[in-house]
């Protein structure tokens, strides 16, 4: 199992660092841009806070983007939410299916290891990749605050990174389940799922009738504006996340163990 885990990690290392550095440095640059935009931000903040449902959707009614905290929640929150969601989806959706797409499944599964152990090793590799990704991005964002000589709102920042990580696990769990069915790398579906969830959350925050269904999506508890404005964590959403993640992972274990392997 250790060999498969490490081998998988080595194969994914390049993608992991590219995604982490791109998203992290993008966030870092955005933080640095705050200083040059600070003057214009006050007028923008006033405009953004009086846009009704849109202000609520982006948290601008409770947070001011004229402050670094509000700016971080609105800008970097969006970048990280979308970027990390897509990374989680892309990593998980190909991890099992790529063996058949690359015709390496016969080599791997002819070695003395059960399919359940293969699924476990690969699942752990996805989890480990998400941890590394989150740490690298958190490092870049923290550096942004340090370079600007601004105080990092540590409590909210850690809570934000933690719930983003949970959201990544949920998306990865769902995509992991899909990966066990497919004989091809469905990267497009993975990215689509991440964007769909993000869009659902965005629309749900604008349309009042949809608000009570927001808990269905992973972005409901990972919303940067809600976290930085000190809103309570929606427990229903976290419970739903735990349920969907478990279903995705369990499905991957059960289905992959029972299916025919394409040559």
């Amino acid at each position: 199992m250790k060999t498969i885990f490490l081998g998988e990690l080595r194969l994914n290392l390049k993608a992991l660092f590219i995604w982490s550095i791109v998203i992290g440095s993008f966030g870092f640059i955005c933080i640095l841009l705050y200083e040059s935009m600070q003057g214009d931000m006050r007028e923008m903040a006033d405009a953004f806070s009086s846009m009704g449902a849109f202000s609520d959707a982006f948290g601008m009614s409770t947070l001011s983007i004229a402050t670094l905290k509000g700016y971080f929640a609105a800008e970097i929150g969006t970048i990280h939410s979308l970027g990390s969601g897509m990374f989680a989806a892309v990593t998980a959706i190909g991890i099992l299916s790529k063996e058949e797409e690359g015709h390496t499944g016969e080599f791997l599964l002819s070695l003395p290891i059960t399919r359940k152990k293969v699924v476990l090793s690969k699942g752990l590799c996805v989890l480990f990749s998400l941890i590394i990704f989150t740490c690298i991005c958190a490092f870049f964002y923290s550096m942004g605050f340090i370079v600007l000589d601004e105080e990092l709102p540590a409590k909210e920042f850690l809570k934000f990174m933690y719930y983003q990580f949970l959201m990544n696990i949920e998306i990865a769990g769902i995509c992991f389940g899909i990966s066990s069915i497919s004989g091809k790398n469905r990267m497009g579906i993975g990215i689509g799922i991440a964007i769909l969830f993000y869009g659902f959350d965005l629309i749900g925050r604008i349309i009042p009738d949809l608000k009570e269904y927001l808990f269905l999506g992973p972005y409901s508890y990972a919303n940067a504006s809600a976290i930085f404005s000190g809103a309570d964590t929606p427990e229903k959403a976290v419970a739903m996340a735990a349920f969907l993640t478990s279903v995705g992972i369990l499905f991957a274990f059960l289905y992959y163990d029972r299916r025919d392997l394409a040559s």
Partner: protein, 230 residues
């Protein structure tokens, strides 16, 4: 002699499509068993069922006296398999692939791997993506042999190999079989079966027929490919 492979009434279908029908087959210990048949006859389906790549079949498969489902991991520890299309992780180097296979087995096979690589002229420093089919097959042979398994399963092993490497490959098989191993050799090459196999069977349209002798002439052999029913 004990049977290394024991297949009883194996049937596997793919939805409405035929796979294999009621296959019963025994391979004795120390045998080099020739497994012939046209493309799509069901040879690979039989092999892939034995190795656990295919599920949902009816019948019973025992390998090395063990149940193929319940003791799957144990069986694979004693099997060396070479698929017809040898694919590996393209970004890895040959030596990493060979070491990877040994590490998953929890064994240090470096000495044996080195011996086989020398015999088959395998350049271990090259990347998999740079290799031709023949060279990938040679890597596959090393991965299948380096742990000195009790059973070899080769699916069309010599296609893409040059004549010298083919000869060296069969020398290696003979060496291992003399030491007690057994070999199931799926092939389209009649001369290989005539020359190296002790027993043989032919598959056609999902059904299996044991041959009285592996020494059959070409006309007879081709007849099996042409006939509607066996």
């Amino acid at each position: 002699m004990a049977n290394v492979i024991d297949i009883r009434n194996l049937t596997k279908s793919y939805g409405k499509n035929r796979g294999i029908i009621d296959v019963t087959l025994s391979v004795e210990s120390g045998d080099i068993f020739g497994f012939l048949g046209p493309n799509g006859a069901g040879k690979s389906t039989t092999i892939r069922s034995v190795l656990g790549f295919l599920k949902g079949y009816s019948g019973e498969i025992r390998v090395l006296g063990m149940d193929s489902v319940k003791e799957h991991e144990k069986i694979l520890a004693n099997v060396g398999y070479m698929p017809s299309e040898a694919w590996f992780y393209s970004s890895m180097r040959v030596r990493d692939v060979i070491r990877y296979a040994a590490n998953v087995r929890g064994l240090d096979c470096s000495e044996e791997a080195e011996k086989i690589c020398e015999k088959l002229k395998v350049d271990t420093s090259r990347k998999i993506k740079e290799l031709s089919l023949g060279n990938r097959k040679k890597v596959s042979i090393v991965c299948a042999m380096q742990h000195r398994p009790k059973l070899f399963v080769f699916d069309e092993p010599t296609s893409g190999l040059d004549p010298l490497i083919q000869r060296n490959f069969f020398e290696l098989i003979h060496e291992y079989v003399e030491e007690g191993a057994t070999c199931l050799l799926s092939t389209h090459v009649l001369s290989e079966v005539n020359k190296y196999c002790k027993t043989a069977a032919i598959m056609r349209e999902g059904k299996l027929k044991m041959l009285k002798s592996p020494k059959i002439d070409e006309d007879m052999f081709l007849k099996f490919y042409e006939e509607e029913n066996i």
